[in-house]
Subunit: 239 residues, 2 copies
């Protein structure tokens, strides 16, 4: 499944990639980490995309607050939203410290990310939560990887911001409980999670600097998908 996502993204024939020597999912954690840093775009482009993606993550969580069926869930998701928003605002502070205008650097990326959001919001609260978990998880890992390639002192600053806890644990708690209680929901959300990955990796791909030859960038995507699989396991879903 992992391999077919990558090959679909890059238009390569699936059979060519699905070599029998590929490691199983459990082996991914032991592979050397791909070096994302060689694909890091320039500072303005990185910060604009990272800040707008974090805004997008916050917006998804805010929607989930609005739609929460109980005050307990609303409160939990509000705290998750607050964490996501602190990260977004911290990135905006970095943009200002770098002498750039937040709206200026975010605007070029807004149309594509807005379309991505529209395609991945889902049809109900559960799908929205899974979307926040899956797309947020992949994109935070992705931008964390790219941040290592920023010039000093930004690499360290941005890495520290992105390493702050986000919404993941709260989302896993709510969705995990829902899935454990309802096998139909588990099935539906597993399919939905699978659908989200392709669109999310396309957003990541578009953020890469330079040539995007499949053999060159595949390790990045392999690593993102491995992280995604681990996060789905934590929910009780299978990638």
């Amino acid at each position: 499944m992992r391999v077919s996502w990558i090959s679909r993204l890059f238009g390569r024939d699936e059979k060519q990639v699905a070599a029998p020597t590929l490691p199983g999912r459990r082996d991914f954690a032991e592979l050397p980490r791909a070096d994302f840093a060689e694909f890091t775009p320039d500072l303005g482009a990185f910060l604009g995309q990272a800040a707008y993606v974090q805004l997008e993550i916050f917006e998804g969580l805010a929607r989930a607050v609005l739609a929460a069926p109980s005050v307990v869930d609303k409160e939990l998701l509000t705290e998750a939203s607050a964490r996501a928003l602190r990260k977004q605002q911290a990135l905006v502070d970095v943009i200002r410290d770098a002498g750039l205008d937040p709206a200026d650097v975010m605007t070029p990326f807004a149309p594509a990310i807005d379309s991505f959001k529209a395609a991945t919001t889902g049809s109900d609260w559960w799908e929205l939560l899974v979307s926040s978990y899956v797309t947020g998880g992949i994109l935070e890992e992705f931008f964390t990887g790219l941040a290592a390639g920023l010039p000093a002192p930004y690499a360290e600053q941005v890495s520290a911001i992105l390493a702050e806890p986000g919404a993941s644990d709260d989302l896993a708690q709510i969705v995990g409980a829902g899935i454990a209680a309802d096998p139909d929901l588990q099935h539906r959300l597993a399919l939905w999670a699978r659908r989200l990955v392709g669109d999310t990796l396309l957003v990541a791909r578009s953020a890469l600097r330079g040539e995007k030859d499949i053999d060159h960038v595949e390790p990045v995507f392999t690593e993102l998908i491995a992280g995604h699989s681990r996060r789905l396991d934590a929910l009780g879903l299978t990638a």
Copy 2:
């Protein structure tokens, strides 16, 4: 207009209240401040309502972020949302410090405040912004007044939290620019702002402790309406 809101709220005949000796709007600032503190409910009820109302204020701003037509507006409203959310989370921290459960103390007030929200969201982005400005402005002033009647150390803690800047300046900036550019919008939003006040004062009224005899509580509402009028003036609207 002020007097008719109060009299409608309390079911009193308008003519009885509209005595010619009532001060004009500009004079309200010079009146002694009403003593809200005698109406302060017990700590759990106060904190539950104040935190849920702040959650409601945050939700309105989050909706405004989602619907913002430009990245510049989105960014400005995101900062306003972040401030509102910090205040809400600070109130939740006070609830926890007081040994209470946030969801437990908020839940009793959720149905009425959710209905209020549904009635005051408006039909487009501009009405949503004005609603956040008008209802948030009145209710923050109201809970600030009530906070003085809390036991120590909560009176001081909560007053400090509520005194932090909220969304008001950002909302005034966006709506003021919209109104200045479009007389039709000015007219429509003035009518909308007027409609919001009655529902907002009813939420405030329901939060008061003890008997709610009109002669007794009228100074509180007179002061809230005076503050409302000043905030509308700042937008270029008339109450």
